[in-house]
């Protein structure tokens, strides 16, 4: 996908995202207990862990839905720890949600149009119709997830699997450097999962992906590296097969 400007196209030779000692407490309960990790630019990283390990909380911290209790979040060499979520999105961070999170009353095309629009700050251009480039972007994003034919349908009328595809199209239309995918295949049938896997695999390699997922086949098919979270801490981090055979990981999943 073409990048919007040269600044976004810049390469970050080291890591695109770095988390430094993140803690998140809810009342007295520690959901995250000192998480540090680094994701390389262009990498496809899976984040796994048993239920309640803090994966979605971590996503919420990264995307700015929640503030961390302590710790730092560095994105593209910039400290974004206290940045509101819309500013993070402007820096090229996109996310999908575990539960479908669409504008159900709007059409498929309008959903993507919202994401593709160049003016998100209520300026004069907020009143303009999408220009040629925005239109291309919308078409392109819809084509990538295979929702071209459903473009005029209200998002409400899409099937569950299609709604998840639309989530992806929305994320793509923001022209991100990085997408956080929160259980993209949750609730899908095997056939729908296959289709989704194909879509994700075909995404441009320069978009960094951070994926929470339970489906191990999907993870092994997609991820370059895997990070394992357990009780709010990183217990393993490495190549898929190394992690799979890690003793602590086995224990976390099997031992109760």
């Amino acid at each position: 996908m073409p990048r919007a400007d040269s600044a976004r196209g810049e390469k970050f030779p080291v890591d695109i995202l770095r988390l430094e000692n993140l803690h998140k407490h809810f009342g007295g309960i520690a959901a995250l207990n000192g998480v540090s990790l680094a994701v390389d630019d262009g990498e496809r990283r899976a984040l796994i862990g048993p239920n309640g390990a803090g994966k979605t909380t971590l996503f919420n911290l990264i995307s700015g839905e929640l503030p961390p209790t302590t710790g730092r979040i560095i994105y593209r060499a910039q400290n974004i720890t206290r940045l509101p979520s819309h500013r993070r999105a402007a820096l090229g961070m996109a996310r999908t949600f575990q539960r479908n999170n669409l504008f159900l009353g709007l059409s498929v095309w309008e959903n993507v149009r919202l994401a593709a629009h160049p003016d998100k700050g209520a300026g004069v251009r907020a009143f303009a119709a999408p220009n040629g480039r925005a239109r291309d972007l919308i078409e392109h994003s819809l084509a990538r997830v295979g929702l071209h034919e459903q473009r005029d349908m209200p998002a409400r009328n899409l099937s569950y699997g299609e709604q998840r595809q639309l989530e992806l199209a929305i994320a793509l239309a923001t022209q991100p450097n990085m997408i956080l995918l929160d259980e993209p295949a949750a609730g899908m049938s095997p056939a729908e999962t296959q289709r989704l896997m194909g879509i994700v695999r075909e995404m441009p390699r320069d978009i960094t992906l951070l994926i929470i997922e339970h489906d191990m086949d999907l993870i092994f098919a997609l991820a370059d590296r895997i990070t394992v979270l357990h009780y709010g801490e990183v217990i393993a981090d490495g190549e898929p097969y190394a992690v799979k055979n890690d003793a602590r990981v086995k224990e976390a999943y099997l031992g109760t």
Partner: protein
């Protein structure tokens, strides 16, 4: 589909012609009533931008209506009755106030937003009560000059009922067109997005606070337009025009007509005003009856008149609906539930 578009176009044209031709055959009473309906129609549409489109329940909208009316009245008396001079000034004042009140109110959402707009609305009311030099206090501003338009050598005076009706009609059509354009532009889609799923909109990069503030100011300005017209039409402004019952009444106009559409609130305004006229000529206790009607409405017809019309329309267009086959996951989900 094109036949449907043709139908709505014909219908709109017919209504427009009817509105323009009306003074030729209707009685003064009807023209006056309709003028009032159009003024409150603008007010109700402007509130709907917040309520129906953005999903913000404002209970202080009368503040901007009243401010527009007071500012216009005061300026007409003390500066000039020329609309070209007075209206922009009045709207500037309203916009500034909406900016300040909006800045604080949009920091919170839901019931808090409602409480704040109500509190700020009553602040404006209290201001109107006490700032007697400008507002006339509880006596109000009375015997306001008739509005006129003076541009260079051109001069139009709005001395009779029909002339004022056309003035209001022109502003109504302009307001309707402007609001229609806004809600159909990207801006309107963003407002709907805020109503449906604000966190998601932020996550894709929207500064939703700024959109909400902008919507608040725009809604305030159009309420100010209605207020300015009201001052010229009624030639009397009083504190009851900024009281919270006025805000509540506009809210009910929007909801009765159908929130989330532009013409619904206008219909709602028409219904409420006409009902009020009828009931208040029959009994002194018309407020009780209006209150009871509101209560009854909450229980009876929650989707408004427009909702009702839409339902009828949809049923008649039944054959156009495509039934989508369920996806595999939905089917398997269903199976697992059974």
């Amino acid at each position: 589909m094109s036949s449907r578009r043709l139908l709505s176009f014909t219908l709109a044209l017919a209504i427009l012609i009817l509105l323009i031709a009306l003074p030729a055959f209707a009685s003064t009473f009807i023209v006056k009533t309709l003028t009032e309906v159009l003024i409150f129609g603008i007010l109700a549409m402007s509130l709907d931008l917040l309520l129906g489109y953005t999903g913000l329940v404002s209970f202080g909208h009368a503040a901007f209506f009243g401010m527009g009316a007071y500012a216009t009245g005061y300026l007409a008396k003390n500066l000039s009755p020329n609309i070209v001079v007075v209206m922009p000034l009045a709207l500037l004042i309203v916009a500034a106030a909406a900016l300040v009140i909006g800045f604080f109110s949009i920091r919170v959402s839901g019931v808090y937003f409602l409480m704040l707009t109500l509190a700020f609305g009553q602040m404006i009311y209290a201001l109107a009560e006490r700032w007697t030099d400008v507002t006339g206090g509880s006596n109000g501003l009375s015997s306001l000059p008739r509005p006129l338009i003076e541009l260079g050598s051109a001069r139009i005076e709005f001395d009779d009922v029909n002339a004022r009706y056309f003035l209001v009609l022109a502003f109504f059509l302009l307001s309707y067109a402007a609001l229609w354009w806004m809600v159909h532009a990207q801006f309107g889609r963003v407002l709907i997005g805020i109503r449906e799923n604000e966190p998601r909109l932020r996550a894709i990069g929207y500064n939703t606070s700024r959109f909400k503030l902008l919507a608040f100011v725009i809604a305030g300005v159009f309420a100010g337009v209605a207020g300015a017209l009201y001052a010229g039409f009624n030639r009397f402004v009083s504190t009851s025009d900024v009281y919270w019952t006025q805000s509540g009444q506009v809210l009910i106009m929007v909801v009765i007509g159908g929130a989330g559409t532009l013409l619904g609130p206008v219909l709602g305004a028409g219904m409420i005003l006409i009902l009020q006229n009828i009931i208040s000529s029959a009994t002194e206790r018309w407020q009780t009856i209006m209150g009871l009607l509101f209560i009854g409405f909450v229980f009876a017809a929650r989707n408004g008149v427009m909702g009702l019309l839409k339902q009828i329309f949809q049923i008649s267009n039944f054959k156009f609906q495509i039934v989508k086959p369920k996806s595999e996951s939905e089917v398997s989900n269903l199976k697992s539930k059974i």
